[in-house]
Each structure stands twice: as C-alpha cells, then as structure tokens.
Symmetry: C2
Subunit: 325 residues, 2 copies
C-alpha cells in the first residue's frame, strides 16, 4: 500500500522506530487475512489489507514510544485496526453500501450473510490478537471500546430519519461510534509505554477528542463531497437517515431543512439536492471550525511528553481535520 502523506509526516516526527513497527502491523494484518482460509482472504482481505489511513494503529505506536516492547505494541495496533475493519464491514452491511475506500464492499460482492460473518471473524481475531499480549487490562480497554461502537450504532439507528435530533445526542453518538476507538488506541499505547499506564487517562482524553474531530469532519465531507475524493456517494448519511452536524446547524438557518422528510431522500440526486441546500446556509465552515476547536482541545489535553511524541501526536490531531480542506 502507498503510505499516506500524514502517515509519512507522523513517522518522521515520531521517530525511526515507527516505520518498522507499522510495517510489522501491516504484515500481520495481511497474514491474518491470508491465514484464515481463502474465505477471509477473499472477503476481508480488501478491507483489512488494502488499508485506510491507519490512524488508529499509528496512535498506538506513537503513544507507546520508542522504548515500548515492539511485539506487544504491534499486536495492540493490529487489534485496534481489526476492530475498526470489523465495524466497517458491518456498517456496510447496515448501509447496504456499494463502495468503501473506492472499492466494492464485502456486502456488495458477497452478500449480507458473508459480510456479517466476516465482521464477526474480524472482531474475534482482534481479541485473540490482543489476548496474546497477556494483559487483561488491554482486553478490557478494547472490549469497552467495541461495546461503545456497537452502542453508538444502536443510537444512530434509534435516531434515524429524525431531522430534529438534538446536538447533544449527536455528539454522544460520535463519542460512542468513533471517539471510543481512538481513545482505546491511545490507552493501549499508554499501557505499552515503558513505565506503564501513568498517562493513560490524559492520553485517552486526547484520543477521544481526535476521534470526535475526525467524525465531525467526516460528516462535513459527506455533505460537501465530492464523491471522487471521499470515495463514497455524496449525502450517503442522508440516504441512510443519519442526521449529522451540518443538518443540525443548517436547520436553524433554513426552516425548510428543519422539516425535511428524510424518508423521502431515496435517490443520490435527491440527497445531492439536500446537500446543496445545507451547503447554501454556510454551515460547513462553521462545522469545520468546531472540528478545529476540538483538535485544539485535544492538543491542550496532552500530558507532559517527550518532544518527539508530542510533535507526532499533534500531527495526527491536525491531520484529521486537514482532509480535502
């Protein structure tokens, strides 16, 4: 896989130990995809081996630092990415999504049944991977995060198609659905850092904020597109009935949006129309501004750290809001 610019910059800032560890994590992910029979290789190989931005493993490795036990840190990085991949595969089932990262989804090529089981297998392998580290505390961190992801998904479905969903409820959903795994990545890194879990709380809080900012920007990109850059249909959230920050802000400025019938948004054309209307209110700049504020909060929450780790973590934080800006 080509290394994303962010990853390269973070690796340069974070130290020479990071590239080989990230490469080891990639190798392990590829081996897991290949090692569970052709079934997993065929259906999940694309998702887990073709790779996304690898932000979560990167957070684990940067936080763990250069004196961490390498094998254990890599396992934690792999476990976090497997959980992430599992939720992507399941999310695509729920959304009946055709594309992910510009490639056909598991559900599109193999159907719902195989995609659901593939996600379950990825979940299971994540816990097996982390258990090999021999630290129950790590398993607790990961299982709490994966519970939160599922609770976030449940909240999202409960609120689906309600254009009046409260801002607080939306933010809570982001915390559960996205921020929790970023937090877990940082906590796991802290547990792998030599000297133990001293900074675990503060680093977890940093990760949570980075994850929240990531989701806020993701929700902006869903409205702004273009699909050619985001790799998914513009307005995919609307098609799914999911109300996010742009619509929540825009409905205050455009009464027609407050009463929009989301169940009537069933074609990409109609979704694009609603996106245009949201964009016309000027709220996307406001939503981006909020994401930047959360990133600033994240950086402010960083505990005392050596210069290398701090610089690398600040780069990760900045990167989540610098996508297609």
């Amino acid at each position: 896989m080509a290394i994303a610019p962010t990853v390269e910059a973070v690796m340069q800032a974070g130290g020479a130990h990071i590239p080989p560890l990230l490469a080891a994590a990639e190798e392990r992910l590829a081996a897991l995809a290949a090692g569970h029979g052709h079934v997993l290789a065929r259906h999940a190989g694309d998702t887990i081996a073709a790779g996304g931005k690898r932000l979560r493993p990167l957070l684990v490795l940067v936080v763990a630092g250069q004196s961490a036990r390498a094998v254990e840190a890599v396992r934690a990085a792999v476990a976090v990415e497997l959980i992430h991949s599992a939720t992507l595969v399941h999310d695509d089932v729920l959304d009946a999504a055709a594309l992910r990262r510009g490639r056909p989804t598991v559900v599109a090529t193999a159907g719902r049944a195989i995609a659901t089981a593939t996600g379950d297998l990825l979940f299971s392998r994540a816990f097996a991977e982390l258990a090999a580290n021999g630290r129950p505390e790590e398993v607790r961190v990961l299982s709490d995060a994966s519970s939160a992801l599922a609770e976030g998904e449940l909240l999202q479905r409960a609120d689906a198609f309600d254009p009046r969903v409260a801002l607080e409820r939306y933010l809570r959903r982001c915390e559960l659905k996205t921020a929790s795994l970023f937090e877990a990545a940082c906590r796991l890194g802290a547990l792998e850092a030599p000297g133990g879990a001293g900074d675990s709380e503060a680093l977890g809080a940093f990760g949570r904020r980075v994850g929240l900012a990531f989701q806020l920007l993701d929700d902006v990109l869903d409205v702004s597109g273009p699909a050619s850059r985001t790799g998914k249909t513009r307005g995919a959230d609307l098609l799914d009935g999911t109300v996010t920050l742009p619509l929540i802000l825009a409905r205050e400025r455009d009464p027609e949006l407050a009463g929009v019938d989301l169940r009537g948004v069933v074609t990409p054309e109609r979704a694009a129309e609603v996106c245009d209307r949201i964009e016309a209110t000027g709220v996307l700049a406001e939503a981006r501004r909020r994401a930047l504020e959360v990133v600033a909060d994240a950086k402010a929450a960083l505990p005392e750290l050596d210069e290398r780790r701090r610089a690398a973590l600040e780069l990760v934080a900045d990167s989540v809001v610098e996508r297609y800006a």
Copy 2:
C-alpha cells in the same frame, strides 16, 4: 425462567454448589441486558434473559467443580452464553428468521441494522466479562471459539444451496459452528477448576463431541419437526439453503433428492414436502444413531474425574440427543 428438566437433573447430580452459581449467572445476564441502556434491554433482553437451555454455562460450572472460585466461574459461564446469544442474534439476521425459541427475533422486531449492532454489543460484552477474570488464557480460548463460529458460518454460506456438499465438509462446519463453543465452555471450566488446566485438553474434547452431537440432533429436528416443539419452521435449514446430515444421507437412497433444486425451496409448504421425502427414506433414525455414537465417544473421552462431575457431564451429554426423541 423455568428451569429445564435437564438442567435440574444435572444440578442434582453435579452438586449443591451449582444452583446458586447458575442463578448468579442468570442474574448477571439479566443485569447486562438491563445495564446497557434500554436499547440493549429492549432488543437483546429477550434473547439473553429469557434463556435457552443454558447448556454452555452449565458445562462451565460443572467442569469447574465445587472448589472453583465462584465469581470467576460465573463470569466464564456468562461470557460463553453472551457469545452464544450474539451468534443467535446474527444468525437470525442472516436467516431473516421470524421466531427464536418461540419468540419474535430481534431482526423481526427491530430490523437488520439494530440486530447486527445488538449482536456486536453482546460479543463485546462477552470479552469484557471474561477479561475481568484477569486471565489472558481464558480470553484466548473464547476468541478462538468465536472465530471458529464465524468461520463455520462462512463455510455454511459458501456451501449454501449445494445438495451435493460432502459429509466431511458438513462435519467440519458442525465442528466450527457449534462444537467449538461447547469445547470452549469445558476448557474455561477446566481453567477455573482448582489445580488449573490439567484436564483442559480431554475436557475440551468431551465438549467438542457433545457439541457435535447437539448439532447432529438439531439437524434431525429441523427435518422432523414439529414446529410446535422445536419453536421454528420445519425445514428452516432447507429454506436457508443449508444442507445437513439428513439430506446428505437421504440423497444416497433417493436419487431425486440428490438433484433437488434447493433454490426452488422458497415456501414452508415446499420445505415440508422435501422434509417428508427425506423422512420417507428412513435416514432420521440413522442420523440419530450417529448422534448417539458421538455422545458415547464423548463420554469415553472423559478424563478421570470425581463421581459427581462425571455423572453430571454424562447427563449433559445424554441430554443433547434426548430432545423430543
């Protein structure tokens, strides 16, 4: 919940320590259903709290024995049942099943999205529960089993609608999809037994065979029905394209069954016709006989044990083939 006759007999044989431990497991399952917000309570409460036969938790507790650490043994029992419940919820999504244990399924009442997320949450809580025991070896046993369950599901889907699937392949699927969790239950019990994991291998082998026999009989009941006793549509496997032992045996005796178009089996009426035809070949007795043989193998595989544990485990083994006999 009313205690099933098997459970009662096993509890009497296994010793006075078992009823309070099983009650504690029930309480914990109910608390977990209630404790993750009304979302989980609403959607998974029925599945996890209303209870099935609780065979897997029972195996954990019987194997662990009366000198096991009670809190830890109960956690292991709860974790195994949560994984089981998670797979039931996901299986029902895949099969679009309307009923489970005679009640409406999560997918039937809340839709695919919520059912998928509910299953994910149950998976996650299982690992969180077990991690609290502080023993990575236990997490490994559970994650290996849950991986096997998912692989079995993948195998089942890969072979769907193929009436010529090989017997060996069917047996492998049963090992993965069912036997692996029975094995894990026994292994976890062994890990909780005082003196540690000495019998873990042999007890795991016992559990695996009990699980296989359970599945063989389940597949007989799917053909024989009646729905009023099994709680599900007769021929549900056929409607799902799943080829099991009765059809595998029957196709040798009735050439028309060898060439049956399973994609044409789309109504309960047609499924019942194929079931009748399978039954007419007389293979159900043969399939039951094979299940009984596996139970005999299971008992023979039991390692040296005190009389109480042996008697209780033999009762569990017998019970899986004595359903609606």
